[in-house]
Amino acid sequence: MKSSEYNEVVLTVSDPLYRYALKLTKNVASAKDLVQESFLKLWINREKVDTEYAKPFLFRVLFNKMVDDKRKMKRIQTMEVLPEKQIDGRVYNEEREIIDQAFEQLEEKQKKIILLRDWNGFSYEEIAEILDINLNQVKVNLFRARKKMKSIVTKIDSSYNKSQR
């Protein structure tokens, strides 16, 4: 990858990578660090990584870094975590909030798969590569995640409707 191509990747991938990190960590500083470290790794490996694989490469690095950080965080619980409903100073509308609540109840692996698929359009094969799991696990988890989201949203909706009556 040439320098100019690297810079192009920064322009196109840094935002979705940051949103992915922020959604999973809920911590602005951590998300920024993760993005910076991922791009550093890409820069160091730029000779080995083709431009077309830069995006999955970055997500893979970020995922691995998150796993490492999580291990560390089990030892040091000092991170400042933002309230769920207010990330980066934005207030969510009601529908988005409900879907967000449903999303938060998913398992970690399911969250990652949903974000990689729905936000970033990765193929099942790419998701398997990024998360280092097999293809069947990706599909099964995606299936379960969507079912679960549907079920939770339905429940929230019905309890909201009851309270309105």
């Binding site: 810079n7 949103r19 910076q36 550093l40 040091i76 879907i99 974000l115 599909k139 299936f143 969507r146």
Partner: protein, 271 residues
Amino acid sequence: MKINKLNYENFVIDYIEGNLNSDQKEAFDFFIQDHPEVYEEIKDFISAPILKEDTSITFENKKVLFNKAPSYSLIWVLFPILLLGTGFLFFNQTNKDVEQPVENLEINTPLANAPKVEDETEEFAPGIDAIEIESEDITVEPLVESIAEVVFTEPLSGQSGHTIKPLKVEPVELEPAITNTVKPEVRSETIVVETYPRNDAILVVEDGVDSDIEREALNRVLLLVQEPTGLSLAERQENISMNFSNKVILEKRDRNWKDLKEVFTTKAYKY
């Protein structure tokens, strides 16, 4: 292929997306007929809400991610300048007698204090024992610091003041990446410095390091690492917050700043 309650999830997405072969599809159809609850699950899957991406959230400080290093094209511009400059220096010194008191000679090079070299006149100007320089306030500095170092020879004791012998210009190769592992003798700490020809830098210090020390270390390391780029001190300081690509890793264990500074000062020119 037998599809049952235990393995149907492996096929369901491919079934929905039409990726099963005809045998598998037929088997799945039969399975759904026997298990209507799975049909409901499929309906839930299809109608599940999609988490919307908030595209207004962006990574603001992209400049820290960009490659700040000069491109190789710059090197190709600088290289001819070096050649011309070297030729010019050599021409001047072999065609002019120069008288120059050594105490007036201003030497702006990192190697100003380098050990004196024995008489090497023969190697660079065969047949000439000594060259005298007549300019009054010559400033000798490497034209392109990144690819040349200037080594000064022993001054001669001339009849009318001091003279110096020809300069020896030693090319320094630009290498793709160099890793220096410095292990101070007394302490157990290790400093790993990786630099890259494009002069990016990053400083990673372990958790718990005092932020003042971290900032000072970053300053010091960048000033040293970037010295060959030809940037002025002010430019280097201005770029400190942005230059996060040269990879400089400090492993700090029970270290104080004085020792750190000493190590980097000592090793600065060996990258």
